[in-house]
Symmetry: D2
Subunit: 135 residues, 4 copies
């Protein structure tokens, strides 16, 4: 069972804005990159082709503490904060060395998609068997 | 004085993900587009060249209610929710017709940037004179 | 029948990079936005849901003449340059007032997608009936 | 002296579009990521802070051979194809295992930027000393 993942990443040029710092929208993508790496660590893909399940996000938030700039290396640490029958919540810390950059959270829901209808569903056991709430 | 802005927008192809819906990170960009349009409505640019002030984001959040798909038209309604000496907070609703799509918030801080040091500062009067808390 | 489309657009904050100018990758997205608007002008969607056809890009190029900056307004003019049984080629000019910003081209192919196999196909008549080579 | 660089990368979720494949605009970003890694390999940053030089792109092109999908691993191989007094041209191959995905090219120019004026300039010797045309 997995409960956390740490991703090391470097800021790419197109992620920084005219103020010279990473645009705030990118942190949500960094958090998702770490989430998908966590799922791979659990032996899963979050979007296997022709799966009946999808995992739409129901909320996402970040607080920003310090700017991050082009070519800086940073860490994205994600951990499972809560699991319910149909939802999973993550907490996320972005750091550059000892510097706190940003703190985020993300909640996903398990859903089935038929045509354009998305409907909340219980996580299948092969998924819940792989995750546990982290430290 | 301005306090709100409504932006009409169509979903672009590259904004939708393999699940066929707008990737959750884009809503933060939609909210910012509406914010910048609000500032233009106030006769201001949020990033005039060679300005001493920058406006980094200190928190941002969205709750997602319904998916949004390629080529759908939607509205982004942003309003000023709170103003303090150094910060401004917005509330944001994304809707498609009568359907609630997402609800967000964003807080910015006024700062000066010298070399790589960002330091919180009071909003200059030419900015505070233009905004008021919305309905 | 349609043969060209002109899109007016404003540079968004997240499209500009730390050099203060629109990142070169965005021009490909601008060109595609104009392409999709051209298809809508023809009464078509380039990606209707559950269509058997997809239109992958087989080549794309831009030459850059002048930089474009945050909040500047610009025009994207796309026109049909050539149509064959299975491909369509566009030419594209990006301008800001009288200033030439960039010149691009894009070729798409008509394809059917079954599972993960994409296979070139003839454009269906309801599509070819709508486009002609532009001026 | 460096002349080429090979970057291994995995497709991220937000890079794939509703057709399930990497959006064509991303290849230009992949090529640039490899370029910046090449410069780091040469002991340089392409955008050091407070540098007088910038390196705008004057043309970029890709041909697409096969689609690339979410979570697939791929290689971006960039090499220096030509160097002149003021320009450098790269050639780029994107592959997944033995499969050719895309073939690109990119030309950059050395420029100085004063206020909003960009002006072509000769590459400084500390840069030209580091690159040579690749195999």
């Amino acid at each position: 069972m997995v409960s956390e993942y740490r991703l090391r990443r470097r800021v790419l040029f197109y992620e920084a804005d005219p103020a010279g710092i990473v645009h705030f929208s990118w942190f949500f993508r960094y958090m998702e990159e770490a989430e998908h790496a966590l799922w791979r660590e659990a032996g899963l893909s979050i979007a296997p082709r022709r799966s009946e399940f999808v995992f739409p996000r129901i909320n996402a938030a970040f607080e920003y503490h310090s700017p991050l700039r082009f070519e800086e290396e940073f860490d994205v640490h994600i951990r499972v904060a809560a699991i319910t029958e149909k939802t999973m919540r993550y907490a996320c810390d972005v750091t550059r060395g000892q510097t706190r950059i940003a703190t985020g959270s993300l909640t996903i829901v398990c859903a089935t998609q038929q045509r354009d209808e998305m409907k909340a569903a219980s996580f299948p056991p092969e998924i819940t068997a792989k995750f546990q709430v982290g430290p």
